[in-house]
Symmetry: C2
């Protein structure tokens, strides 16, 4: 029997599990609910049970399982201790020890955002590269910095918090981090909408965006349809994002940026409006960075978790 | 006989050489001229000769030499090939191969700025830390990013080019990189002077800086002497530098910044005027970064070069 590896992505509502071969081929995936009650005391047992059932069902010998990788929503120490995971109710839990005890299989744990970045590097938009910055343009803006194939966790687990790079001195509204003028305030899904509303208020130009409630998708759909006002918004959006990613490139000079999250569902148009500004603001020696869309969507976490185990 | 290691820092005018024990104790250091004529064809031979003479003079057996580390002013590939080093006249030279052939000793080569950063981490201001950002506030502003004890070279050798993070949209003068509003335009030695001149022109306030030509040292001396206008300049300087280093911390979240270069000779006052702005602009989770002054001065290169060899 050929070897397999499990990748587990623990979210606040569901736990995603994937069974992979050692080349990164997804053989099977499924979900179980995340039982967050009682400080999430059942979660690790549920994961162990689900994996053991899978082994029995498919007649997989434990000695053919290379390991279990896990991504957890919170800072994780290198020994597998989760300091705190608010969405799970966890505090000071060593996932490696507990899950190894229940399964008899080697376990490796890391932060979920970082794990998703590894997934995109391994089998997603960053495949073939080892110096990658994964950018998530979602409700907020997150990042995963990979240098020579390794995640940059940072001294206090705040490596890759690129959404909070300060870009705008004239911002009056506060960011979720309490700062003013963070990249996230412009480049997130809510950021696009905010920029659009501001433009609608400041301009008298006609636009499809004047009808009803505006979403990030509406803005990009209007851009693609050639709506002039929406295109002005896309340029403002692109300048903020390009300026922010240029700062990232000045620090770690990646081969490629992999752009994911809700906003990226609009497609390469997001990159097209950003790239000229990236080129304008980045150090000339770092100008050659590539830009790709994330490919794995919600599966990035299970891929990256599997990679955690296979990584030497 | 206990083991020794050589650290070599190749500059455009002189080559600095150091002989260290394996704990990083500097046993001896000396310099030889850099013969840049004829495309620098003599430089490697001169280094080999100087080291072999030292071995003979001190009766050191070759088998007791762990290796020779070299820092070179230009981008260096991982196999020791210097792609180009303008100040030396070099182009496509494999330093490892050539110097190993001449000495029979293992050689490791890297970029000089990165090597100096490693030196400060190993035995300088960053001693005891492995996630370090070395910042050089000199004629320009340079950086060396160290993550888990390893230098971040970047995809095209532009890792740590933090002097070119864009900070100011309203800048009319161009930076050396042709950009406008780079950190270097404010935080370098020439940057301080530029800020001071602008403030002198815009303000009618009395100041010692109004007498004669202003240097970076004059500005900081005036700050220490309580000159009001100079203190205003220091606050502007501190805000730019703090904002730039905050962006760096949002990306790699270091344990410590080690501040070196000409401007840092003013002492901790530079850090004191910067730190409140760093705290203002950085992601809260990365706020705990420490700040230290570089300690090794011009010897950082030989220390770091020696470390290159000893690093596993």
């Amino acid at each position: 029997m050929s070897k397999v590896v499990f990748g587990v992505d623990v979210g606040g509502t569901t736990v995603k599990l994937g069974c992979f071969d050692t080349e990164g081929q997804l053989l099977d995936k499924w979900e179980i609910p995340t039982r967050t009650e009682d400080k999430g005391v059942n979660i690790i047992g549920d994961i162990a049970g689900s994996i053991l059932v899978k082994l029995a069902k498919d007649d997989i010998d434990k000695k053919d399982v290379v390991g279990i990788g896990i991504g957890v929503p919170g800072p994780v120490k290198s020994d597998g201790t989760v300091i705190v995971a608010v969405n799970l109710g966890w505090k000071d839990i060593n996932v490696n020890t507990e899950l190894e005890e229940l399964t008899g299989i080697k376990v490796k744990t890391s932060n979920d955002a970082n794990v998703a970045a590894l997934g995109e590097m391994w089998r997603g938009g960053g495949q073939g590269y080892s110096n990658v910055v994964a950018v998530t343009l979602g409700t907020g803006v997150g990042g995963g910095i990979i240098v020579d194939g390794k995640i940059v966790n940072g001294a206090t687990g705040a490596g890759g918090e690129i959404g909070h790079i300060h870009l705008e001195d004239n911002e009056t509204e506060a960011c979720g981090c309490k700062g003013h003028g963070c990249l996230e305030q412009y480049a997130s899904a809510t950021g696009v909408v905010r920029l659009a509303k501001k433009k609608l208020a400041d301009s008298s130009k006609d636009s499809v965006l004047r009808e009803g409630e505006v979403t990030a998708k509406d803005v990009w759909d209007a851009v693609k349809a050639g709506d002039e006002l929406a295109i002005e918004v896309a340029n403002i959006y692109g300048e903020y994002l390009g300026k922010g990613l240029a700062a990232v490139a000045d620090v770690v000079n990646p081969e490629i940026f992999v752009i994911g999250g809700g906003v990226s569902k609009a497609g390469r148009v997001v990159i097209e409006y950003m790239e000229p500004y990236f080129d304008k603001y980045v150090f000339p020696g770092a100008k050659g960075a590539k830009f790709a869309l994330a490919k794995l969507g919600n599966d990035a976490g299970i891929y990256g978790a599997a990679f955690l185990v296979l990584d030497k």
